[in-house]
């Protein structure tokens, strides 16, 4: 079942791309030698602790730091007024009419979520810092709070950010509505509904999730007063982005700011964003001229890591008499939390609304989204980011539609799929799917689970009073948001290219620098596979460098399943430039016409004369020796590229879950989970498999276990791993994986991306399986997470009806 790995030494260079080799990252990780941020110690290092609001919404009446300041070992205590810098966190994505209230590093008048920072304490050791933080006396006057995005925009809801006198809010718009956004054609969609033979409705909630990277966020800042250099080691998915943003926030020149991500223990989106903590740590180090370290406690990660999801949605689907989808209408209230996090406005809009066509040919779609401020931590990208919310809605409503017209859910999907000959397919929600073959993954999955056989087994089981169900999820995702020009038109305040540098050393070894920043994805392995394939240089002679603004020219980072598709393509582009230059040198040295040279297996030779050749390594030596290179050519052999993709990539697949539900206890057992994914070409199938497994575990987590819950005051009631059920080994099923390969037509590797596929696909596979199991009871909806209590209540309620 599972893919066997091989040692890299056992693979020929020509076959390295696509081989399931072991990861070169692992030796340091499995021996404890790997260096995460909190592993780094510096002489004279101080520790920072943050004083946070215990209330979800309150007016700050006073902050008394005197008790903390007087304690032994305390070096400094800072409140908002102590830092004379811009000190506001920026928003990296703008929408028309977006409200952008101030997001200060430290609150001084109002706190708007539990965990909002009020002061920082710096002390000689971490215990003293935390003790002193507890000794800061904060007087808060509690205010009414609101945590639900739909409730937040109702009349009378507590307002988080009062509009300024000169702020021109359109009439009727609630002050908590950060934006009102729409996509698609409302008139066309209304017309489709008017003519429909059947309409299907679904109201769902996509609950707030806590990302739960195993390594809490951390920062170590060091300042050199002599040079003005400020060096930051931090838990980052995108050091260059952090450098640029922090440069503005703390007013430090970008070229004097050096951001490095050492080993990073998972991110899932939560380490993309620029938080107050790293900026505060940097400010303390600069002010005190001593190294300062801050490490979040797990409680702090629960209170301050940007949350994911948080949608309340009403969806309607229109069908014709044959069961073809003729329209989709969606209205979503999206929770943004108390302030706009770095990329927050993009997630429930362009990363959500644009995916609502799913795998289907839908002639009319309209989606409206209101983003609401509420008294929970800022909500931003979490694994999948908008796309799981879209896929969850589409696959739930498709399943309900099939049931409503009494059609088999697999056949309903098949009837409505975009056909292979329709690609590239222009959806009604502004994107063009690059390639796909949706029946192929459906058929593979149906065969894998023996769909017909299952239906018989299901019937037999029902007769015995056992309730089995199968849930299908025909998902689509979009990776590598691009090109930059389009991103700019949509509101991105950044380009979404990726940069790399491929440098050959004189001895013929290679160092490849890439602006992505892996944190568990195995980039050092896969990128070396890519370079070995391009250059024909032995895999072990290639070093990969990521995550350091001092070493890598520029970069946008790792998120949105973009690293292989955009970073990998950038590496290919740089490597090909290296070969191009090397070819000129080889032609010169071989006294041959460049047009007569071929490059294969890492060697240039004259076509038809294999004996007359030069290896790329020999060319590298000649390039640096520079005694005999073409006139006018610069010595050296390296190349930089900025790769800006033509389009997103669109991976797809079909996941099927088979569950057994006990209607008396509400317990769910996942009997089988089958994932058939098409993520384009695979650089390392074992790494692809691992990404799929991990993504599914998080998706199953959302379906069955996880959910950030707040009380009416905005207090987090699932505030620890005891109360928030991060899945354990026993909670995740054995996953059966299969794949098809439909190459991406517009990047040089043919890869699509895989980081988020499992998380996007899994929730609705599980929920659809549960509603299928409970069909005899008339249950066709249970809210996530599907706890035994909720399942039991759904059965009870249906039986009463």
């Amino acid at each position: 079942m599972s893919i066997e790995t091989i040692e890299s030494g056992a693979v020929d260079a020509e076959e390295i791309l696509g081989s399931a080799i072991e990861r070169r990252e692992d030796p340091s990780l499995i021996t404890g030698r790997a260096e995460y941020t909190d592993d780094i110690q510096r002489p004279d290092m101080l520790h920072m602790a943050v004083v946070r609001s215990e209330y979800g919404h309150a007016r700050v009446e006073g902050i008394d730091t005197s008790q903390a300041e007087g304690r032994d070992g305390v070096v400094a205590v800072y409140t908002a007024e102590d830092f004379d810098v811009p000190g506001e966190l920026p928003v990296g994505w703008l929408l028309d009419g977006l409200r952008t209230p101030a997001h200060p590093l430290l609150a001084s008048e109002r706190v708007r979520y539990q965990g909002d920072a009020l002061a920082v304490v710096v002390a000689e050791d971490r215990y003293t810092a935390h003790d002193a933080a507890d000794a800061v006396e904060v007087e808060l006057e509690r205010l009414d709070a609101v945590t639900d995005p739909a409730a937040a925009i109702e009349d009378g809801a507590p307002v988080l950010h009062e509009a300024a006198d000169d702020e021109d809010l359109e009439p009727g718009r609630h002050e908590n509505a950060a934006f009102e956004w729409e996509i698609g054609d409302a008139e066309k969609t209304d017309a489709a509904f008017a003519d429909a033979d059947e309409t299907v409705e679904l109201e769902i909630e996509n609950q707030l999730l806590i990302p739960n990277a195993m390594e809490p966020r951390a920062t170590l800042a060091e300042y050199d007063a002599g040079t003005g250099d400020l060096r930051i080691n931090m838990t980052s998915q995108n050091p260059h982005v952090h450098r640029l943003l922090m440069s503005g926030v703390i007013d430090h020149p970008e070229h004097r700011l050096h951001v490095r991500a050492p080993e990073v223990g998972g991110g899932f989106g939560s380490k993309i964003h620029h938080y107050a903590d790293e900026a505060l740590c940097a400010l303390c180090a600069r002010d005190l001229e001593r190294p300062v370290k801050w490490v979040a406690s797990r409680t702090e990660t629960y209170q301050t890591d940007a949350l994911g999801r948080g949608h309340v949605t009403r969806g309607e689907m229109a069908l014709d008499e044959d069961g073809r989808i003729v329209g989709l209408r969606v209205d979503t209230k999206a929770n943004l939390g108390a302030y706009l996090s770095t990329f927050a406005p993009a997630i429930p809009t362009y990363l959500y609304g644009t995916l609502l066509s799913g795998q289907y040919d839908i002639p009319a779609i309209h989606c409206s989204v209101t983003g609401a401020f509420t008294n929970v931590p800022p909500v931003d990208a979490y694994r999948g980011a908008g796309r799981p919310e879209a896929s969850y809605l589409v696959e739930r409503i498709v399943t309900r539609a099939a049931r409503q017209i009494d059609m088999d859910p697999a056949e309903f999907r098949r009837l409505n799929f975009v056909d292979p000959e329709q690609f590239p397919y222009e959806t009604q929600v502004a994107v063009e799917y690059d390639s796909g073959d949706y029946e192929k993954t459906l058929d593979a999955a149906l065969e894998h689970v023996d769909y017909e056989g299952f239906r018989e087994r299901q019937q037999e089981a029902r007769e015995e009073g056992r309730y089995l169900g199968i849930g299908l999820s025909a998902y689509i995702e979009a990776c590598g948001l691009a090109p930059s020009e389009l991103a700019g038109q949509l509101g991105a305040q950044a380009g979404l290219w990726e940069s790399s540098l491929v440098r050959m050393q004189p001895s013929g070894t290679v160092t490849a620098y890439c602006g992505t920043s892996g944190h568990g994805q195995g980039h050092h392995t896969t990128y070396a596979q890519v370079i070995a394939n391009e250059l024909g240089v032995p895999y072990d002679d290639i070093e990969v460098v990521e995550g350091d603004t001092d070493e890598i020219p520029q970069g946008m980072g790792t998120y949105g399943s973009r690293s292989a598709a955009v970073g990998g393509s950038s590496l290919v582009t740089s490597a090909r430039k290296v070969v191009e230059k090397a070819k000129k040198i080889a032609a010169h040295q071989l006294e041959a016409d460049e047009a007569d040279l071929v490059f294969e297996g890492g060697e240039f030779h004259v076509e038809g004369a294999p004996g007359r050749g030069m290896t790329l390594q020999e060319v590298a030596g000649a390039a640096y020796l520079a005694h005999d290179i073409p006139d006018g050519m610069e010595p050296g052999l390296e190349a930089t590229s900025f790769y800006d993709p033509e389009n997103f990539t669109f991976p797809f697949g079909l996941h099927a879950a088979i569950v057994e539900v006990d209607p008396d206890s509400g317990e769910i057992e996942i009997e089988r989970y089958v994932a058939v994914d098409d993520v384009g070409e695979q650089i390392n199938p074992k790494i692809v498999e691992g990404q799929i497994h991990g993504g599914i575990a998080q998706g199953v987590g959302q379906a069955l276990y996880e959910g950030a819950e707040y009380d009416e005051n905005g207090t987090l009631v699932t505030g620890s791993m005891q109360d928030y059920a991060v899945p354990k080994a026993e909670h995740v099923p054995e996953i059966e994986t299969e794949s098809t390969v439909t190459p991406c037509p517009h990047n040089p590797l043919g890869v699509k991306g895989v980081g988020e596929a499992g998380t996007i696909a899994a929730p609705q596979a599980v929920v659809n399986a549960v509603t299928d199991a409970l069909e005899p009871f008339g249950v066709d909806d249970v809210e996530m997470p599907l706890t035994p209590e909720r399942v039991w209540r759904a059965v009870q309620a249906a039986e009463v009806n």
Binding site: L29, M214, G690
Partner: protein
């Protein structure tokens, strides 16, 4: 805060240090002695990233005081390999891609070692049950379970490999 002079044998090396009464074992190991293999994920014994062995028993070092380890022998993931020769459990994690970001891995490996000492041939269900105190957010656990099975095979097949 009272200070205590304690002695701990870490991976076979006797270490003397002075700690506060409240210093956690994991902080003593990491910050005082430089054994940064055990990681801190939750400070509440729920995630298991800090798992070490104290006198041969797997313990969450974030919820044990350093003074409680006075006189004890502590094994961390750093002590597992024999020079550059990986322990069969470590090798199995590498072969099976039983890790991604690696943060939980030192704890997973130490828990696995305890499991395989107690039960040299566990079923997949028994492995999943034994790992209930160790959370991994990256892998979905399947390749970890595969790694533990592979490690059991290696340890059972080669009695020489590791007896402890």
């Amino acid at each position: 805060m009272a200070e205590h002079d304690i002695t701990i044998e870490v991976n076979g090396t006797e270490e003397e240090l002075t700690v506060d009464s409240r210093t956690l074992l994991v902080h003593a190991l990491r910050d005082e002695l430089g054994y940064t293999g055990p990681n801190i994920g939750c400070e509440s014994s729920l995630c298991g990233a800090c798992t070490v062995h104290v006198d041969g028993q797997a313990v969450k070092s974030c919820t044990m005081l350093a003074v409680q380890a006075d006189g004890a022998s502590v094994d961390t993931v750093e002590g597992l390999a024999d020079g550059e020769e990986l322990h069969p459990i470590q090798k199995s994690f590498q072969e099976e891609h039983g890790l991604q970001c690696g943060y939980c891995t030192p704890g997973m490996i130490m828990t696995t070692q305890q499991l395989l000492e107690d039960n040299p041939d566990p079923s997949r269900e028994e492995i999943r049950e034994a790992l209930e105190g160790n959370i991994c957010r990256c892998t979905g656990y399947q390749n970890i379970v595969n790694a533990v099975e592979t490690a059991a095979d290696k340890l059972n097949g080669g009695a020489r490999a590791e007896g402890d």
